[in-house]
Symmetry: C2
Subunit: 683 residues, 2 copies
Amino acid sequence: MNRTSLFYSVLLLLVIILTMGSVTFAREETEELNLMPVPKQITRGDGLFRLSDSFTIAIQGKKGGARLGKAVTRTLRRLSDRTGIFFSQDFIRPGGNVQDADFIISCNRQGKLILHEDESYQLRITPEKIELSAETDIGILRGLATFNQLLNADEKGYYFPSVEIKDAPRFPWRGLLIDVGRHFMPVEVIKRNLSGMAAVKMNVLHLHLTEDQGFRVECKTFPKLHELGSDGFYYTQEQIKDIISYAADRGIRVMPEFDMPGHATSWFVGYPELSSAPGRKYTIARKWGIKDPTMDPTREETYVFLDKFFAEMTALFPDRYIHIGGDENNGRQWNANPDIQAYMKAHNIPDNHALQRYFNQRILKILQKYNKKMVGWDEIFQPELPKDIVIQSWRGQTALIKAAQKGYQTILSNGYYIDLIQPASYLYLNDPLPKGALLTEKQKKYILGGEATMWGEFVSPETIDSRIWPRTAVIAERLWSPGSIRDVDDMYRRLPVVSLRLEELGLLHEKNYGMMLRRLANSHDITALKTLVDVLEPVKGYKRGSLREYTSYSPLTRVVDAARPDAVVARHFRELVNSYLSGNKGTKDEIVSWLNLWKNNHGKLLIVINRSPILKEVEPLSRDLSDLAGVGLQALKFRNEHKKPSEEWIQENLIKIEKAKEPRGETELMIVSAVEKLVESSK
Amino acid sequence: MNRTSLFYSVLLLLVIILTMGSVTFAREETEELNLMPVPKQITRGDGLFRLSDSFTIAIQGKKGGARLGKAVTRTLRRLSDRTGIFFSQDFIRPGGNVQDADFIISCNRQGKLILHEDESYQLRITPEKIELSAETDIGILRGLATFNQLLNADEKGYYFPSVEIKDAPRFPWRGLLIDVGRHFMPVEVIKRNLSGMAAVKMNVLHLHLTEDQGFRVECKTFPKLHELGSDGFYYTQEQIKDIISYAADRGIRVMPEFDMPGHATSWFVGYPELSSAPGRKYTIARKWGIKDPTMDPTREETYVFLDKFFAEMTALFPDRYIHIGGDENNGRQWNANPDIQAYMKAHNIPDNHALQRYFNQRILKILQKYNKKMVGWDEIFQPELPKDIVIQSWRGQTALIKAAQKGYQTILSNGYYIDLIQPASYLYLNDPLPKGALLTEKQKKYILGGEATMWGEFVSPETIDSRIWPRTAVIAERLWSPGSIRDVDDMYRRLPVVSLRLEELGLLHEKNYGMMLRRLANSHDITALKTLVDVLEPVKGYKRGSLREYTSYSPLTRVVDAARPDAVVARHFRELVNSYLSGNKGTKDEIVSWLNLWKNNHGKLLIVINRSPILKEVEPLSRDLSDLAGVGLQALKFRNEHKKPSEEWIQENLIKIEKAKEPRGETELMIVSAVEKLVESSK
């Protein structure tokens, strides 16, 4: 075994040297493999391993434990589900006839769910045998995720390509934040997202559990927290344990966030004495935005409460890290409270920042007492804090790098705000440790990774998957794969395949699209509606909340909610036009057929709109799509006939195009820029 | 108020008399309403109630309780979700300004979750106001289900038609059995099915919790039951409480079934001493069919065990009824055990039937001790039992009626076995109390209703919804609506609309179809595959298990699993052909266009099949579809040109057609009979 490994290592090294740089190499080799994240090192071999119903998997030795057994069972079932093969036997457990198995798995020990645990693995597939080895069972899980992505087929049947992979993550913290405070997400939503995370090798689920709009976990010490602060939508402690165990089975840590001292209205419904406005009564916040209610950092009772609170919560959540939020405290309640002002004077606390620093120091002591490490948003960063805290940056790389320079551990979230609907390419190129960052090798290690952040203002259990997936897979790749893997086209090539694989895990990002369109159209036939929504995207950034006033009960079932980030058809069309305008005439026919489809769509959709008033708000977008398609066709015709359009025609249509860029129903038409290019080019 | 009610009652009576029989009347009036189940009495009024964002619902008086408040909140949210309207306020709680509300709800008391509870309601919609009243809050829930189905729209917006409905169920027991023993179904599967049940006014969830293949509920007294008998797939008691509370919120009883003395292998894995084969060791059964392992009814220890077991389970499940199964005991273990044979001789027990009677009597005593009533399958029926037990008939109406004649309460399941994939029309016309049944009025009351039975051999959490829905809605109508409502065409007209409404509740019957096809085709483009699978159905009856040997781990992801009962396209095509052959020439063009689509489909699908080996098994069906479409086109051409085909042509094609009737991959091509008719008619 070891000799073989060595042989392959040397071979791999040779191949890497011969192909002049592993980066280009990996890029080429994965082109047809559809792996995401791309492994650190990959070598293709000759031939392939054929799958048959006598296929067997075996675990070598007894060091893997129960998690490994469950993961292997899941792998076998999934293989059976995808191929339809009735495997003649279950996997071979330790002690069985391991050497006869087709697929042999071995690891040295059970991994711990801690930061910096070894997640590396080696996967070798030859026509005769598959071998997966790792230091820890968690490494094996990551290897099985790769294995799942390698299944392929031809006319003869299913197979795995011959390949040798040596893989390890670039960053140790690869997280997804789900905000269950603003809109509650039932356990099954969390579980299917954990399955998705595991498939792309993410390892931290960050549960944003408390917000002005909801307190989402059962608290036995202070039951009014969840009883009065949640509208009945909270996780019982049994459910939390279930989530943690489901995550642990997939090698994923669960870090809870209890946001304080701000973002805490829901705490005050049951315990108003915690707030900085004495005597005020609270109800759960129903609207979005930064609220005034803030904990009172000057009363000892606050810390007595929080000590008991954390005593319970630190026991419930086994992870070493606890997130205390700490963001967006507007200070109004502190400014308005004479007792707080007096306290600040008496204790030489110059401003609200210093007061929050004082609060953080007190909370830190409590967490340390329970053997936990503190995580918080940028705002908690202050030189007095010990070096084992973690700063999560929503402000950006500059803040991140500054903290790392001072020796603080950091994770990046700025640029990974998946609720802001930026394109996958934007998320993909956002690097926690960009090339040329002014950091020493030691300081670079302080940058632990990043987290995709799914804030909850505009998502329901029905739509959340479509905001998270498949795009979070590209963030997962950024955090796992070598920094040199940055080919946007190749990422977009692999993304639809990855998306299908994610759907098989129970994620609803693809199938709820049809369902939402059927409800919107009020019928089974959604053709015309789909043609429109396929080229729409929700507005970007923070625009949606500014265009209309939302509450936590506003419907999230409109076209803007069915429309998805990275509208695939629109991106494809923009690429066709770019390619055409750069001289590739071969794309013209397809451009014309899309434009014709759109040109004729409005009439058809109008019939649907007239019996489905919920669609009224996108009627102008539908009309614009048809109009602009007509303009695009004309522009093409001019070009084709080598004629120049009149100045009036150009001006008139550029105005039309400018208007069509305006969002309607909080959605945007994503083919406008391409039509604009066609018109501009006809000049 | 009362005076108004009286006025409307009299008016309604008048209308009914004038229209000569409420039955024909209800049929006509619901034609455009898409209600399912059809209410007992319905009168259309003039005008309509327009929905706006100032719409308010109010609950009158304080007799409704928490369940009603939650139901009204759900109704308002759902209305908002479907219309996209941002309602300006929440519903008005008791004590608020009720009379100003648009929609006023009132009931006299909180209903109990017991058999024969009052579920009647009256719903009156006028252009100015909506009023819903009932004796119990459960009646209000049923009325809200109707209200949800009444939402309509035109170019001006959303509205509810003016209508007066007086409604009450025909049968008090309208159930759905879900077998979680053979394949476990996670809590969310149960919850979304409970939502579906409530939408069509069903009121009993029958959980078949134990089987040879699995023991699915946590048992604290005998933990080896779930620990060793479930592969880890069981409901914790917290989850059972969660399910019961979710069901109670929807006015649905939850009846557990613990199948005994047979179907009990999973019990014996942990407690082999319960079985009738002393010293034998057991593992969980992996294959389907009737198994030998049976409890030993001659040992006192068996009853000591079951007494403790039921002490725990009767406390966990609040419903008055407990199902003890009692079916399909093959008696082999009893015959082979000399101690049991000796016991029978000593106690004058002549045969195994008598021995099982003895067992039932003992179990009955235990259940009575815990204040529960016994339910069992046909086999438990025996004259010695008290009259408050309930016989569930899988054998059919004859057994049912015989039992009712003897004064026993019965529910029908024969003919409602939704796992057998019979068409919805078959389920729909299956009546627990058929016209002309030889029963007195008093005896008729013993027929309590029926249960759709979803046996679990061939369903997974991914496919189960597609077997249950939308078809169970037609059973729900059979059990709720007057027996005279039996128009199959009208049922099929309403069913797709009901199906869309059910999908909105989170059911996956529609959206998992696309997902499964995408996995099968291994791509986003599923057009050709969908064209084929749209006209396929799984084989009927018990054929599937006989065509291939399945285990509980066999994949349920093949074409047979994606294919659904009541293939809509195929039924539509058969109707077109029937209509054409009975003289309606107007359907010819559509017939031709379907046949052309199918004729050209095989070539396209072949490309997909060649890269997706899981599809190989339906390749011959795909070829048959194209071939038969060609034959159909030729037959039409002969007819059109008033030519007669040659005898050879007819014979050759009838042979081809006969062959195409054979199932392949356990699926059937559902357009063969229509093509056969076209060929026959060309003679």
